[in-house]
C-alpha cells in the first residue's frame, strides 16, 4: 500500500486515542501536586474595593497584590491607532468581565480549593457594563479602559474608488447582520500543570496549548525569566480551534505560585469556566450594501463592520485579528471595481475575543453571501448565477483582488458549478413549485469562501503582534537502527500531523510509516515555531519536513555511494534503499554504519551525520488560498421553527491533498462547528453583562443527530508556491455553513417575505419572523 503523499492512510495517532491511551494534562499526576481553583469575578464591570480572605486560609489564597513582580499581559499591534490593554493575570483595581480571575486558591484537591474560594469575600462596586458593541461605540458609553477616552481598540478603513460607483447605473441592497457570541468547545478544555525542575533550573509548564513556544515567550515576558529557564510542554491536546492559541492568565498565575510554594500545581478548566469565562469568539455586526448592475454583476461593496472584541487584547493574536482582517476578506472570491469598508474593534465587558476556526471569515462569509442572496432575490436572479457573473475566473490566476490579497490558484466557477450540480438545484426548484406533503418549506442555499493559509513574514511583520512567523523548521534524524524522527515546533491536536508528516517523509526517503516518529509539543525537544494556527502546518511543517528529508537523503546517498564503492551520481534512493548499478544498501544499514560501525565509513564522510535541522518558507509568503462552494438543502417547519438539513455538499479545492481521508475529516468536523454557529450556539448576555449559559444544557452544541452526512467533492488545483502544491485547509469547513444554511432557510421562507439575518437561526427566531411577516407588511428586513 502506498504510504506517501495522496494516500488515504488511517491516522497513526488514533491508535492511542481510540484506545484511551492518550495523555492529556488531566491525566498527568506529579508527586506532591496540589490543585488550583480560581475565584472569578461574578460581575461584568466593577471596581474592586476589598478582597477579604479568612485568616486560616490566607496561606492558600493569592491575589494580585501578592505578586507585584508579575508583568501584565500585553498584546499590542503595530497598526496605527491601536490602543493597548493591560491584563494582569489576577485582577488589579477593576474587573472587566464575568469570569475574570481575582484570586487563586490552592489545596490538595480541587473540591477543597473550591471550598476555600467560597470563603473569600469580594467587595466590588459595580459599574455600568458595556454589553452591546454598538452601544459601546457611542460617545456616552461607559469606558472599560478609562485612559483611552473611548472603547475602540482599533478602527480600520479601506476605500478603493468607492464614490465612483454612485455615478454608475446600479441596483443596491443593504442588510444589517449579526453573528452571536460563541464559546469554543473543544472536547478537552484548557488545563495547566506548573512545577519547578530544580535539577535543570527550569520552570516546566505543561499546558493544553497549540503554541508551546509562543507560550514560553509570553511566560518569560510576564515572569521576568530567561526563556531558557522555561520549558513548555503541550501533551496530547483534545482540540484547539484557536481556544488554545493564547497565553493564559492561568499559566502565569500557576507558574508564579509553583515557584513560590515549591510544589507542583494543577488547574483543569471545567465546562462552566469554559462557557462563562471563555465565551470569546465570532460576535460581529455588519451593515453591508452590495451594488450591482442590472444583470447582477457586482459593482461595489460598502461595509461597516463592528467586532465585539471583549475586555482585553489576547496574547499573541491581539484584539484586532478579526476586525483587522475583515476589510481584506470581505471581497470574497469576487472581482468588482469599487469598495469601501470600515471596521471597529470594540472593547466590551466580555471575555477577550480569540480567533476561532475560520477566524473572521465565518462572519464575513455570512454577511457577504447572505447579502448576495438578498441582491439576487431583489434582481430576480438565481443566486448561483448572480455569483457566476462576478467570480474571479481561472484565467485571471494568480489574481490580486481589490483588497490586495493575492489568490494563488483555483477555478472558482467550476467549484460553484459542481456544487449546483451535486445539490441538484433544478430538482429542488421543481420540488418547490409543489407543496410538501408535510407542510414544510424547502429551500436551497449556497455559499463560497476562500481561506488564506500559511501566510508568513511579510503579512505578519506589518501587523506587529507579539510574534512574526519566519522560517518553519524541522529537526530530522535517523536512529541507529534506521528509524526516522521528525521534530517540529508546531503542534498536532486533531490535525493528524503525526500521520501526514510521516507521509511527506516517506515520499522522500521511502522509510516505512511505522518507522517514522513525529515529535512535537515540547520546547525542550523541538525547534522554535509560532505553533499551530492559520491552517499553516501542512504548508509550513510539511515543507520543513520535506526540506529536512531532502538533506538527509543527500547524506544517506553519499554514505551509501561510498559503501557501494561508487559515486553519488551513480546511485538513487528508492524505497528506503540506496541503489547503485552493482547492488543496494538499506538506510537502516547506512544508519548502523554511521552510529555503530564508524570504522566502515569512508574517511571523507560528512561529519554532520544523519541529523539535520532545516528551515522552510513558501516561494511566496502571502499564503495559499484554498476555497470551496458549500450548498445546503433544508426543510423548514414554519409552525415549530424546526430546520432539517436534507442535504449538505462541499466542493473543496485544497490544492494537492496529502491525505484525502484526513481532509474529509477536517471538512466534516468544520461543518459540524459551522452548523453549530448557524443553528445552535449562542452565548447571550443580559443588560448587566451576565452570561446566560453556564452548562451545555443552556449552550447547545450540535450532536451526531444534528449533523447530516456531508457529501464532499475535491478539486486539486496545485498552489504554485508550496513544496507539493498543497494548500492549508483546516478551517474551511467551519466558514461557510452559517451562510449556506441561512441562505437555504431564507430561500425556503421567501414566500413569506421573511429574511433571517442573524446567527444562530433558532426555531423561535423563525417562528417569530414568520408571525411578524404575517402580521405586518412582508418587507421588514432588520437584524433580529
Amino acid at each position: 500500500m502506498d504510504q506517501g503523499i495522496g494516500a488515504r492512510l488511517l491516522r497513526k495517532e488514533d491508535d492511542r486515542y481510540m484506545r484511551g491511551r492518550g495523555q492529556f494534562v488531566g491525566d498527568i499526576r506529579l508527586p506532591r501536586m496540589q490543585e488550583v481553583a480560581f475565584l472569578r469575578s461574578p460581575i461584568a464591570h466593577g471596581r474592586i474595593k476589598d478582597i477579604r480572605i479568612p485568616g486560616h486560609v490566607r496561606g492558600q489564597v493569592f491575589i494580585s497584590s501578592d505578586m507585584p513582580e508579575v508583568v501584565p499581559i500585553r498584546a499590542d499591534t503595530a497598526l496605527p491607532g491601536f490602543k493597548s490593554s493591560v491584563q494582569p493575570p489576577l485582577a488589579i483595581g477593576k474587573v472587566r468581565h464575568v469570569g475574570e480571575l481575582v484570586a487563586m486558591c490552592v489545596a490538595p484537591t480541587r473540591a477543597e480549593a473550591e471550598d476555600i474560594a467560597e470563603l473569600v469575600v469580594l467587595d466590588i462596586e459595580e459599574l455600568p457594563a458595556v454589553v452591546d458593541m454598538l452601544a459601546g461605540r457611542q460617545p456616552d458609553s461607559p469606558l472599560l479602559h478609562e485612559r483611552w477616552g473611548d472603547n475602540l481598540f482599533l478602527t480600520t478603513s479601506i476605500d478603493v474608488d468607492f464614490e465612483a460607483v454612485k455615478s454608475k447605473v446600479h441596483r443596491k441592497v443593504t442588510r444589517e447582520l449579526r453573528t452571536s457570541r460563541q464559546a469554543m468547545s473543544p472536547l478537552e478544555g484548557r488545563g495547566v500543570i506548573a512545577h519547578w525542575d530544580s535539577r535543570l533550573g527550569q520552570l516546566v509548564v505543561t499546558s493544553s496549548t497549540q503554541q508551546p513556544h509562543v507560550v514560553r515567550a509570553g511566560l518569560a515576558e510576564c515572569l521576568g525569566l530567561p526563556e531558557g529557564d522555561i520549558r513548555v510542554i503541550a501533551p496530547d491536546v483534545g482540540g484547539g480551534f484557536g481556544y488554545k492559541g493564547i497565553l493564559l492568565p492561568e499559566e502565569i498565575a500557576l507558574s508564579w505560585a509553583t515557584m513560590k510554594l515549591g510544589f507542583p500545581l494543577k488547574w483543569i478548566e471545567d465546562r462552566r469556566e469554559n462557557l462563562v469565562a471563555g465565551a470569546d469568539c465570532r460576535e460581529h455586526h455588519y451593515l453591508l450594501t452590495a451594488y450591482a448592475d442590472e444583470t447582477g454583476r457586482l459593482l461595489a461593496l460598502d461595509c461597516e463592520a463592528t467586532v465585539d472584541a471583549g475586555a482585553y487584547s489576547a496574547y499573541p493574536f491581539s484584539a484586532c485579528l478579526e476586525a483587522g482582517q475583515i476589510g481584506s476578506i470581505l471581497p470574497g472570491l469576487y472581482d468588482f471595481p469599487h469598495y469601501r469598508c470600515r471596521t471597529y474593534s470594540v472593547a466590551t465587558n466580555k471575555p477577550p475575543i480569540l480567533p476561532y476556526r475560520g477566524v473572521a471569515r465565518t462572519g464575513v462569509c455570512f454577511a457577504l453571501e447572505v447579502t448576495l442572496d438578498a441582491l439576487a432575490r431583489d434582481l430576480g436572479v438565481e443566486p448561483w448565477k448572480l455569483r457566476m457573473k462576478s467570480l474571479v475566473r481561472p484565467e485571471q490566476m494568480p489574481f490580486d483582488n481589490i483588497a490586495k490579497r493575492h489568490f494563488d490558484s483555483g477555478d472558482y466557477p467550476e467549484a460553484l458549478r459542481r456544487a449546483v450540480e451535486m445539490i441538484g438545484i433544478s430538482e429542488i426548484r421543481a420540488r418547490q413549485s409543489d407543496d410538501e406533503a408535510d407542510g414544510r418549506r424547502i429551500g436551497v442555499g449556497l455559499a463560497m469562501y476562500s481561506e488564506q493559509a500559511g501566510h508568513g513574514t511579510s503579512v505578519y511583520a506589518s501587523w506587529g503582534i507579539p510574534f512574526v512567523p519566519g522560517y518553519e523548521q524541522c529537526h530530522a534524524r535517523f536512529t541507529p537502527d534506521g528509524g526516522l524522527e521528525l521534530r517540529i515546533g508546531a503542534h498536532s491536536h486533531g490535525q493528524g500531523l503525526e500521520t501526514t508528516l510521516s507521509q511527506v517523509a516517506h515520499s522522500i526517503l521511502g522509510v516505512g510509516h511505522d518507522r517514522i516518529k513525529v515529535l512535537h509539543g515540547d520546547t525542550a525537544k523541538t525547534p522554535y515555531s509560532t505553533g499551530t494556527w492559520g491552517s499553516r502546518c501542512m504548508i509550513m511543517s510539511g515543507g520543513a519536513v520535506a526540506e529536512a528529508c531532502d538533506q538527509l537523503a543527500a547524506r544517506v546517498m553519499r554514505i551509501g555511494a561510498k559503501l557501494l564503492q561508487t559515486e553519488v551520481p551513480n546511485v538513487k534512493l528508492v524505497g528506503g534503499f540506496v541503489e547503485g548499478r552493482a547492488g543496494r544498501i538499506s538506510i537502516a544499514d547506512i544508519a548502523k554504519t554511521w552510529y555503530r560501525r564508524p570504522q566502515d565509513l569512508p574517511f571523507d564522510a560528512d561529519p554532520a551525520g544523519l541529523e539535520v535541522t532545516a528551515g522552510y518558507k513558501a516561494k511566496r509568503d502571502t499564503g495559499t488560498f484554498s476555497y470551496a462552494a458549500h450548498a445546503a438543502a433544508v426543510a423548514v417547519d414554519t409552525f415549530t421553527g424546526e430546520v432539517e438539513i436534507l442535504d449538505y455538499v462541499v466542493v473543496e479545492d485544497g490544492g494537492v491533498l496529502i491525505n484525502p481521508m484526513i481532509v474529509d475529516g477536517q471538512i466534516c468536523g468544520g461543518c459540524a462547528q459551522g452548523i453549530g454557529t448557524a443553528l445552535f450556539e449562542e452565548m447571550a448576555y443580559d443588560a448587566n453583562g451576565q452570561p446566560q449559559a453556564s452548562t451545555l444544557a443552556d449552550y447547545l452544541l450540535p450532536g451526531p443527530t444534528e449533523v447530516p452526512q456531508i457529501r464532499i467533492d475535491h478539486m486539486e488545483t496545485p498552489s504554485p508556491y508550496t513544496r507539493f502544491g498543497q494548500k492549508g485547509l483546516g478551517e474551511g469547513g467551519a466558514i461557510a455553513p452559517p451562510a449556506a444554511i441561512t441562505n437555504a432557510i431564507n430561500d425556503a421562507l421567501s414566500g413569506f417575505g421573511v429574511e433571517l439575518l442573524v446567527s444562530p437561526i433558532t426555531p423561535r427566531r423563525i417562528v417569530e419572523a414568520v408571525a411578524a411577516a404575517k402580521a405586518t407588511v412582508p418587507t421588514q428586513k432588520a437584524a433580529q
Binding site: R110, A111, E114, D637, G641, T695
Partner: protein, 272 residues
C-alpha cells in the same frame, strides 16, 4: 466544579431511609443521581447528607396484581427501554423511555427520581399522568398513595414531606387496550423538551386524554380531548385558546411547538 463535602449513607430499608431523612435537616435522597449529580457539582444544592435508596430491597423490582403493575421507584429508564419491565401499555412506556436524554443517563436515571424531582420537562411526569399513575410515598407514618397528577404540585414541587420518599409507581392494567402517542420537541436530541404531547385514546368509547407538557409549569391535562380533535387532527384554533386559559404561555412559538407536539402524539397513537 466539584461538589462540596457531604455525608453519604446507604439505607437498607425504607424505614431507615425515612428516619435518616427526618433526622437530618440538610438531607436529600439520591437514586440515579442524573439530576442531583450536576446540581451538586455546580454547588446549586449543598446537602449535608445524601441517603442512597437504590439498595433497598424492592426498589428495583416489579409487583403485579390483577389490576396494577407496581414499579419500584429505582427502576432505571434503560430497564423500561429494554423491555425488562412488565408493561401494561403495550410497549408505550418503552417507547417513551427510549427518548429520555441519552443512553448513559438512562442506565442510571430512575423513574422514581424523575417523579420526585418533578421537572415539568421530564418525560415521565407527563407520560405517567396520562396513565393515571399513582405514587406510593413512604414516610415515618407509613405508606400513603396518591394520584401523580396531585403529587406534582408545580415545577420542581411535589407533595413530599420531610422524611418521605417515593417508593413505587402504580400503573393500572386497564390501559391495556388503549392507544398511546408521545411526542416532544427539543432543540436537539437528548435535551430537555420545550413541548411535550401525550395522547391516550381509550379503547372503551371515544374518550381521549391529552397532556400538554411544558418547561415552565405543570403538565396541562385535557380530559375531554376528543372535543378538540376532528378526525385525526388536533383542532388548533379551538385547543390553543383553551390551553392559554389553562395557563400555557401565549406567543407564536409556544403555540407552534405545543400544537405540533400534540398533533405528533396523536399521529403516533394512530401508528402514523
Amino acid at each position: 466544579m466539584k461538589a462540596p463535602a457531604f455525608d453519604y449513607k446507604r439505607a437498607r430499608t425504607l424505614d431507615e431511609a425515612s428516619a435518616l431523612l427526618g433526622g437530618n435537616a440538610g438531607s436529600m435522597v439520591i437514586a440515579g443521581g442524573q439530576t442531583l449529580g450536576p446540581m451538586l457539582n455546580l454547588r446549586l444544592t449543598q446537602p449535608t447528607l445524601l441517603v442512597d435508596i437504590t439498595r433497598i430491597p424492592g426498589m428495583t423490582t416489579v409487583q403485579e396484581t390483577s389490576s396494577e403493575v407496581i414499579l419500584g421507584a429505582c427502576i432505571t429508564h434503560a430497564n423500561f427501554e429494554d423491555g425488562r419491565v412488565p408493561d401494561a401499555t403495550g410497549g408505550f412506556l418503552a417507547r417513551v423511555a427510549k427518548g429520555i436524554a441519552y443512553r448513559a443517563v438512562r442506565t442510571r436515571g430512575t423513574v422514581g427520581g424523575s417523579i420526585a424531582h418533578a421537572d415539568p420537562a421530564s418525560d415521565w411526569v407527563s407520560t405517567l399522568i396520562a396513565l393515571h399513575a399513582e405514587v406510593d410515598i413512604h414516610g415515618g407514618a407509613g405508606r400513603r398513595t396518591m394520584p401523580l397528577e396531585q403529587f406534582v404540585k408545580g415545577p420542581l414541587s411535589t407533595d413530599l414531606r420531610i422524611s418521605e420518599l417515593v417508593s413505587a409507581i402504580r400503573v393500572k392494567k386497564d390501559a391495556a387496550g388503549d392507544s398511546f402517542g408521545y411526542a416532544k420537541l427539543c432543540r436537539k436530541t437528548g435535551e430537555f423538551a420545550e413541548a411535550i404531547g401525550v395522547v391516550r385514546r381509550f379503547s372503551n368509547g371515544k374518550k381521549v386524554r391529552l397532556i400538554a407538557g411544558r418547561s415552565d409549569g405543570s403538565p396541562i391535562v385535557i380530559e375531554n380531548g376528543a372535543d378538540f380533535i376532528a378526525g385525526r387532527s388536533i383542532e388548533r384554533e379551538q385547543l390553543y385558546p383553551y390551553l392559554i386559559e389553562r395557563g400555557l404561555r401565549d406567543d407564536s412559538y409556544s403555540r407552534g411547538i405545543h400544537m405540533a407536539a400534540l398533533q405528533r402524539a396523536l399521529d403516533e397513537s394512530w401508528g402514523v
